[in-house]
Amino acid sequence: MSVRAGDPVPELVDPGRGLGLVDVFRRRYLLQLLTRKDVQVRYRGSVLGWAWSFVKPAALFAVYFLALGVFLRLNDTIEHYPIYLFSGLILVNFFSESFTNSTRSLVENGPLIKKIFMPRELFPVATVFVAIVNLLPQVGILLVVCLAIGWTPTVLQVLGVLLAIAIIMIFALGLGMLFGAANVSYRDSQNFVELIVMVAPWAAPVLYQWNMVKDVVPDWLFTIYQLNPVTSAVNLMHQGFWEPTTSNGTVAPDTWLFAGIGLLSSLIVLAAGQFVFHRLEGRFAQDL
């Protein structure tokens, strides 16, 4: 498509400016290849390969289950504690993995960013997609276990689970773009992210139950606790997988209300992430 007489003349455009996430959607074939590349090379050279993506959550699950479920006896007070624990844990792991990797994605792809122009949002987006590939088999296991013990899913429950995954995806991508863009100039950012990720499973009702928090903190603090998008997404997971398999388990009140708020605040975080990313993007190639 070179410019010839008679052809409509394309506009003169600024070569380094794009539409951010919209451009990522336009170049979804490249996104698909980048995601596939990351999935392919991730465990390359290891004997267990993708089995590692089961080994790690399984080990984490075993540790928490023994320490909290057995030694601290949560197993006795929370019905079907293994399901309760696992359904929240895989979601928080998804959050941690997406957030950490998307924060690092720009620095890791530095050589490419310095040489070729492309929508840089592709890198954090691709890492979140890789994390989804990692999450799905774990959801599969959970599904099989729940069906085996007599869960008959309703449409609303399934929608809730999908919404939970969507909230975490949007939230982690927004945070990843925000911290990732800052990480290019200040590597403090990725250490800060490690800190957040360390706190994440404890800041939502993943290991313990929501009413344990409600009993000891003032109401306003409990509301803040519920406003955490991760909390709202974990509640949706519990509502989908755990509550219907128990006889008297109850998730936190107003799950759907807080899920709506969680989705909204995740979208706001994403918009903020895109805004900061766009502002700092001009410096990426020279600061990496």
């Binding site: 498509m1 455009v13 600024d14 170049r27 074939y29 290849l33 070729i116 001009g282």
Partner: protein, 244 residues
């Protein structure tokens, strides 16, 4: 600078400033502050650069190391943004800047061709239809399904270059790549570049091989310390540069 309907690259009054940080941690910054030393200084890699390139023109950017040639090329490709002035382009652009930047050692040659062509802006259908040409040009058909980490450096460059010169573009940026590979392959590359030229593509070339560029390009822009010293006939530009 005159911008017309046929202008492919319009660079108007561009300045690019780099910030040189002399400290790399908070502690160092504090020490520098206390001792009254500068924390950072700036350096103009380009200033007042102003020119337009017409569609189908072949332009050589000339200058010694540090004159700002590569910075200018990065501004045109969009990797860097100007601090003042504007850079605008018309049509699709691809840079043969350090070919192979997007190659992953753990992927096969085939997978790398697809990945890199997509990075350079091609769609799946375009790559599918050109895949055989790309492989044939690189002459490594036998190894196309081998992981790239097992390639010799020559094979690697051949494949990377081959992907780059088969991208569907209007403007091609070429940075010192004609020095890759053995002589027969170099000649083949040059031939391919001439084909693209004949097809009406716009070419911006950076090279230290002055004979080659004055032969390939009709126009030369000579840079010195970030400023345009000469803009005109390529042979005259090369003479000017040699006279410096």
């Amino acid at each position: 600078m005159q911008v017309t309907d046929r202008t492919a690259v319009a660079v108007s009054d561009v300045r690019k400033t780099f910030l040189l940080r002399h400290t790399h941690s908070l502690k160092e910054s504090m020490v520098a502050l206390v001792r009254g030393r500068k924390i950072s200084s700036t350096f103009d890699a380009l200033s007042g650069v102003d020119f337009a390139i017409e569609a189908g023109e072949s332009v050589a950017l000339l200058g010694f190391n540090g004159s700002g040639k590569s910075t200018l090329l990065k501004l045109i490709s969009g990797v860097l943004r100007p601090d003042a002035g504007t850079v605008r382009i018309r049509g699709r652009i691809a840079g043969l800047i350090e070919v192979g930047a997007g190659f992953h050692p753990d992927l096969s040659g085939r997978e790398n061709v697809y990945l890199n062509a997509a990075i350079l802006g091609m769609t799946k259908d375009e790559i599918d239809s050109r895949f055989d040409d790309i492989v044939a040009f690189s002459e490594i058909e036998k190894f196309i399904d081998t992981e790239v980490k097992h390639y010799s450096s020559g094979m690697f460059l051949r494949l990377a270059f081959s992907v780059a010169v088969h991208t569907e573009v209007d403007i091609l940026l070429v940075d010192e790549i004609l020095s890759v590979g053995d002589e027969p392959f170099q000649r083949k590359c040059l031939e391919r570049i001439r084909e693209l030229q004949a097809a009406g593509k716009t070419l911006v070339v950076v090279s230290h091989d002055l004979n080659m560029v004055s032969d390939l390009c009709s126009r030369g822009i000579l840079l010195r310390e970030g400023k345009v010293m000469f803009d005109g006939d390529a042979k005259l530009a090369v003479e000017q540069m040699r006279a410096q």
